[in-house]
Symmetry: C2
Subunit: 745 residues, 2 copies
């Protein structure tokens, strides 16, 4: 059934959606990149024009424009779409790991992220667009899965269409199930990074290594196609618009220095120091983050980001005046093969010269890196001292900027700091070993890679991103050495990479790594489970269901067989699992039956069984329940308002008020739900003796949400959820008080 003629429309639709996601991500990457480039170039020429006149007026104008830009960005974030703050990769990871992140993929978040990223980067705040692109890619993918069709149904069409977001009646497929959504979002995140770097394979590997928790060949293919489309769109635009460099690509085709095996030890030395620097960034960020105002104090946050922008602009503007050197503009075309007079910033230097620090600080990080990577001692050179100053100021600026209430990541800033540091090391080595042909540009590449390794602790995805981004396939060995060495060094200084550290800090979210945590080593399932599980019998009075739903927020309930049904006398057997939303839907649809409350539980009268077509619609509704009601929040059914709404509906539509649900005094009959046709009849269980690490592995690899713990008599003695594992590990949900956005899960 996998041949040509067996193709269903759904497969075709999925691939089309994948292509659409790729194309859209590519276009948005282009918009972000080119608007930044425009704004930054304008700011640069303004600085060049006015720097000769009154310094104070010029600086005020420059800083004023920057603050205006950052105000747009951070007001959008603080007052309209708080989840758009920061990079967003951490939350994409948490979402793909199975956590609920409210409003994270909403349209308002997407728009804020796009506009905010342009504004914050252009304002001079040292943040990158790579992490935001990952979030944008994921959000676009999520938006595309809203699209769904309705089942052919006898119900009135008006109800259906009011329920569906994108009214696509002709089709009958629906991508709002967890697995498909996760696949699309993995692919979207990959495409986001691919577009930011012009690195299709790098994007796929980044999604595999960092962003995604569940991976398969299907996801690989989907991501590859999505990344290819995004990159192809960028490459096409680049071919048409010859006036601009390929957005998101750092390709420098002319630089082809060789390297020798005996240079590797020097590269390793650079990598060691860059790795230390990377771990240092993680430590400092952790400290600085605690000093920032709380998420609720919006005006303090606004003031903070404005202040940091002013500091950034001041460093950018005044440092070159104080410490920059004037250097001769090198002859010949630029690294990207084009002549561009705006590339070298003259500032207060005399004609034919450029101020090195100004050139490095005023350009977009991508351009500065291009200059550093192209340092060959022949074409142009920066003095060691200026490179050291640049490294220091970049580190300072990006650490203060990382964590403010504005969109922006630390990928590109880390690379820039690493490049500057590596180039600095290269010039030092040149001074130490004058006989050797040492190339500071190559050390800059190694420094960038090692810094990324130290900050993010990823492996081959970073290697491939660097190779694809720089086109430097010839330097793949130094790049790999840099990754291995810096990871090793950084790991011994600070235990977690930037993403892991962020995840640990986050409250309300618990990230399950693929390796079981050592805290669970000596525990068993019965140590970590929640005892006193709320269970239902197979046939349960509606009143009881409503009461439980009203008073708890649990999402899954074990179903037990009433002891009277089963004559073994060994207590209540565990026979299935029913989900909260299934119960809500059964209540809403009113599939009730009447049972005699005085008699044995198993002698009830079943409600009239739905005919197959109705059953089909019911099943479809169960799958798509959250979608119809709340397109963005799968976990919303645990809200008490939802239960109240259904209760009110029952009272008005079906005349079933609280009082009517009590057992009839005469007939002893009671309104009940029969759960047997709907519950999961074969949920996975573990024994109480099972090792907690084994439970973790089962939970994580199978992507479970509930795991019931049974004893040897098959009685439920507890239930394990993500929260229970987090509690046992003392992480995640325990820190909920720190949570930024919304305490309602």
């Amino acid at each position: 059934n996998r041949r040509l003629y067996g193709y269903t429309g759904a497969t075709l639709a999925k691939w089309s959606i994948t292509i659409c996601i790729g194309v859209l991500v590519g276009l948005i990457a282009y918009v972000i990149e080119s608007s930044q480039e425009f704004l930054v170039t304008e700011k640069k020429s303004f600085a060049q024009k006015t720097v000769e006149g009154s310094l104070i007026l010029s600086f005020l104008g420059f800083a004023g424009f920057s603050v205006l830009l950052i105000l747009i960005s951070s007001c959008l974030v603080l007052f309209w779409a708080p989840p758009a703050a920061g990079g967003g990769v951490t939350l994409v990871m948490a979402y793909l790991n199975g956590n609920d992140i409210p409003d994270f993929f909403k349209l308002s978040t997407l728009i804020t992220k796009i506009i905010g990223t342009i504004c914050s980067i252009s304002s001079g705040l040292l943040v990158g667009q790579e992490a935001p692109m990952v979030h944008i890619g994921a959000a676009i993918a999520s938006a595309m899965t809203w699209m769904h069709g309705s089942l052919p149904s006898d119900k009135d069409a008006s109800t259906k269409s009011s329920r569906s977001c994108w009214n696509a009646k002709a089709t009958n497929f629906d991508f709002y199930n967890d697995k498909d959504r996760r696949e699309f979002i993995s692919a979207g995140a990959a495409a986001g990074l691919a577009a930011a770097f012009g690195a299709p394979i790098g994007g796929v590997l980044y999604s595999l290594e960092e962003a995604s928790s569940f991976w398969s060949k299907k996801v690989m293919w989907r991501s590859l196609l999505c990344c290819t489309c995004a990159t192809m769109v960028l490459a096409s635009i680049n071919e048409w618009q010859f006036s601009m460099a390929l957005p998101g690509s750092m390709a420098f085709r002319q630089l082809k220095p060789g390297f020798r095996i005996r240079d590797l030890p020097l590269f390793a030395v650079t990598s060691v120091f860059a790795g230390v620097l990377g771990a240092f960034v993680n430590i400092v960020h952790d400290r600085v983050d605690r000093l920032r105002p709380a998420a609720t104090r919006k005006f303090s946050r606004l003031l903070e980001v404005c202040g940091i922008t002013v500091i950034s602009v001041a460093v950018m503007y005044l440092l070159p005046l104080a410490l920059g050197s004037c250097l001769q503009v090198p002859e010949g075309p630029l690294p990207d093969g084009k002549m561009d007079e705006k590339y070298w910033l003259r500032y207060k230097c005399s004609k034919g010269e450029y101020n090195d620090l100004a050139t490095l600080l005023f350009s977009l990080p991508r351009k500065s890196m291009q200059q550093l990577y192209n340092m060959q001692g022949v074409k142009h050179q920066f003095p060691t001292a200026d490179l050291a100053i640049h490294t220091g100021s970049v580190l300072f600026l990006f650490i203060i900027a990382y964590g403010t209430a504005t969109p922006g990541g630390i990928f590109m800033p880390s690379m820039l700091a690493g490049a500057s540091f590596g180039a600095c090391m290269g010039t030092i080595f040149q001074a130490i070993f004058p006989g050797e042909n040492i190339q500071p540009g190559l050390h800059a590449i190694v420094g960038s890679t090692a810094m990324l390794g130290g900050v993010f602790r990823a492996s081959i995805s970073l290697v491939v991103i660097m190779v694809e981004g720089t086109g430097g396939i010839d330097f793949i060995l130094p790049i790999i050495v840099a990754i291995v060495v810096s990871n090793w060094v950084a790991h011994h200084i600070y235990h977690a990479g930037a993403y892991e550290a962020d995840l640990e800090r986050l409250g309300g979210v618990y990230f399950m790594h693929s390796e079981p945590p050592h805290q669970l080593a000596a525990l068993t399932a019965s140590d970590i489970m929640s005892p006193n599980v709320i269970c239902f019998h197979e046939v349960v009075p509606v009143r009881e269901v409503l009461e439980v739903l009203r008073n708890t927020r649990h999402n899954g309930f074990p179903v037990l067989r009433h002891p009277s049904v089963d004559n073994s006398g060994a207590g209540e057997k565990f026979v299935g699992l029913v989900l909260r939303h299934q119960l809500l839907l059964l209540l809403e649809e009113g599939l009730f039956s009447e049972v005699d409350s005085s008699r044995q539980q198993h002698r009830f009268s079943l409600y009239e069984k739905p005919i197959p077509k109705q059953m089909l619609i019911l099943e479809h509704s169960m799958r798509a329940y959250h979608h119809y009601h709340h397109p963005h929040r799968r976990f919303l059914s645990s809200r008490p308002q939802e239960v109240a709404r259904i209760e009110a509906e029952l009272a008005t539509k079906r005349n079933l008020a609280e009082a009517d649900m009590a057992p009839d005094k005469k007939t002893k009959k009671v309104v009940a739900l029969d759960l047997r046709p709907f519950m999961n009849r074969a949920p996975l269980t573990v024994r109480r003796e099972c090792s907690a690490q084994r439970v973790y592995v089962i939970f994580r690899t199978l992507g479970l949400r509930h795991l019931c713990v049974t004893d040897s008599h098959n009685r439920v003695i507890g239930i394990i959820t993500r929260k229970d594992i987090a509690m046992a590990q003392k992480q995640g949900f325990q820190k909920k008080s720190l949570q930024h956005w919304d305490s309602d899960i």
Copy 2:
């Protein structure tokens, strides 16, 4: 506990072993590559020297030498190490998936594979060394895990040392557990491919995408380090030995043509046809394979491989004479930057010219591909007709060679056929669109990639291998397009790639893909399980254990609680799982107790409990049981000889013959084993109602070997093993009769 001072020796040892594997693989790759190059160059000059004289004598000499080489290779394979035949990737995949492949990683297999690969490639048989390198890498990794230490023990040292293969008493770690072994073998396989192509990242991704079934970040790091070491060794040797091209690398630094987005449709056309060709290879191979003599008919197999070698040599020798064109030798250095007069084969052409077909056919595939990839219309050119002839003869030669009793894979031959086909398409496009600047070399790269995509159906690993192998990061978009298009086309012509098709053909092996097969869609656990499970009680008479072990080959036995222990009266509860080798070890160590057979089972006298240190040794022995007894065959404990040996030992050493085990007539006492301290007390179980696809996913993702099926009373009603799933899918073990090596699993 993951910081610097917490490092145990084991971690350090593991990383050292990883580095050793990488270095060894790199050295072996160099040996294989350089000996081939030497032999082939000698053969080439012999042909050049003698072709002017008597044609028949020259051909006989040439063919005789080739047959001699192939005889060495195939005699080794047929009479010493049968598992060394063919590529070996399929069996590495099957092993890493959890199958038992007897003798696959033995030293004899490794030696045969190395010598055989050199001989068969040099003989002129069109096979590649890439798949053998993967097998060699895996075998080296497996050999390194033999290394293990002994526990500090009070036992006599002589027993210990006789048991250990590599007597490393000072250390106390042991890598002979399934997980570590699998990790090392994954890394070794990756390093093998990395060394064959000079592609470190390509190797890692190949292992991830094709070879390995279980993957984690740890495996990724291990593979990356291993691949880097292997590549670095090759790069270092290359720097020292300037006379030779980098073995295993197809780098061609001088070719840097651009490509335009509007060329992509033409690349897509080439890819479509190459994809069709790839699927065609799979179909034809499947047909041809059925005609070959059976594995048991060794002399027929020997005759077959000699015949095919003669045919190959004849094509190579006579085709250029009949159909080759004489072309002008191009000026300037070769693609690899060196002058080499032996590169162009003059054959019967006049001086200053070369015979194109002879040059392509007599060279190693890597060199021929270099020539094809460098076709730029400027430097040198092959006529369309000759390229078509070359494509056809390469396809013919590698299809007949693939599947003979000699080591060799089809990776490089597929690439060569694709390159030749792509170049042919390129020259046709040149003729059709004379205005466009069409580069046949680029079409050759696209053709190679698409052919690989069609034959192997892999995605990013092939992209990265092509990019790293050719250094062509600039052509990454055409390469990705080729992969996507050819996979899509080939998928609709033939359902399986070369590896999948091989796995389907293999008997005695069942490969579990990550997606559940559709044959299981409508089934439940109770449909696929084996009913009538052989179970033990918690305390079981030794006589009973021996009888079961003697008469069955099962590897796992559920343990039940005797109904009298548990007063619920609901039958025999499932309380644990005991493995065959645990039982064997308990018998061997004689941990018996005496129970009263007439009384209730639960009133037994426990044997004297071992003191903690003894317990530690016992646990260690249990883990390392297979290692001590049979370093190569983990599954060997299912052999009946093993039980017979232990029975004999019991009779002689402990005076426990069959008769002594019967219940004593007076005291009613019986010798028994208490399984409770040793059994797995919390094995995973599924319900009988569980969907078979769900069972498949649980089995596959958790890497299980036994899965017990229970009813709602927690009674064992069946057991599911890999074999049961294979039976339900009608694959794998059902085809055991076709099995090549040995029917004893």
